[in-house]
């Protein structure tokens, strides 16, 4: 479920003779977090998405000089095929820049007003400031999904 972004094409070995066919296998995603931490992130994302019917995605990486614009651009790419984009929520964390951005689509923003997002961001930054990336993300997701609640007609069980 984790995908590593990369700047180069990852299906050819054109320049060097025997390069790995996929560059993201050499640099496994679990070098950032331990498996236990990955599991927590995974469960938080999945359960909050299932309970609310929104689609939460998480981006961790550099956001460039214009963090808001970059986050919105990433959000627009984050949809499955575009049809669920209004109901998507992107949490973009840039630990190097110490910035966290939450982007909500139009339909998601009706259930998650900016005020609620700001509160979740506040609790996330609290945890991030003490170096607890995973705990902050999990708690922020919990807060966001609590705020969004269950949509009418969604059966989770």
């Amino acid at each position: 479920m984790t995908r590593v972004l990369e700047g180069t094409s990852h299906d050819t070995a054109t320049s060097a003779g025997t390069m790995a066919t996929r560059a993201d296998e050499a640099e496994a995603p679990d070098t950032i977090f331990s498996y236990r931490e990955l599991l927590r992130i995974d469960e938080a994302l999945t359960m909050s998405s299932r309970e609310t019917g929104l689609r939460f995605t998480l981006y961790i990486g550099d956001l460039g000089p214009q963090t808001r614009a970059r986050a919105e651009e990433l959000f627009e790419r984050s949809g499955h095929s575009g049809h669920d984009l209004p109901e998507s929520v992107l949490i973009a964390v840039s630990p190097g820049q110490r910035v966290v951005e939450v982007v909500t689509g139009a339909a998601a923003a009706r259930r998650l007003p900016d005020r609620a997002c700001a509160l979740a961001v506040l609790s996330m930054t609290n945890a991030f400031a003490s170096g607890d990336l995973v705990g902050g993300i999990v708690n922020g997701l919990r807060q966001l999904s609590d705020q969004a609640g269950h949509p009418r007609g969604l059966r989770t069980h």
Binding site: R3, E6, T31, L58, Y59, T67, S78, A106
Partner: protein, 137 residues
Amino acid sequence: MTVVETILVYVVAPLAVVAVLALLTLVPGRRKKPRWKPGQAWEHEPVWYEPHPAAGGGHGPTAAHGPAGVPGDGTTALGSSMYPEQHGERNTGQPGAPTAPHGAGVADGGHGARGSHAISAAALTAARPLGGARGTW
């Protein structure tokens, strides 16, 4: 009590207790990689995390309709985030579905960026206006 006994009881025994406690504290606490602290540079590749696709309503392995599907296999693994996404996985189990290019998350790449163009402009405008919040620490 002889001198040897005194030394054993009052010097060696406390030292042994301290050494055992120190071992118990230090040995399991050794982390293999240093933990990231705020203020340090973040030199990892950008990474996306997505939720698992919703299951088909039952328990157990469901038909492959998401990224966890392995080509040629009709089931998805539970806890499938352990398995890296393979090429073309999104298309398994959906023979009639349009092949949604899921390079959507691959940013800035020559090949990977094509996914971003697959999302229609109508879908983008439907998602607007975008809301959210921003925080720094």
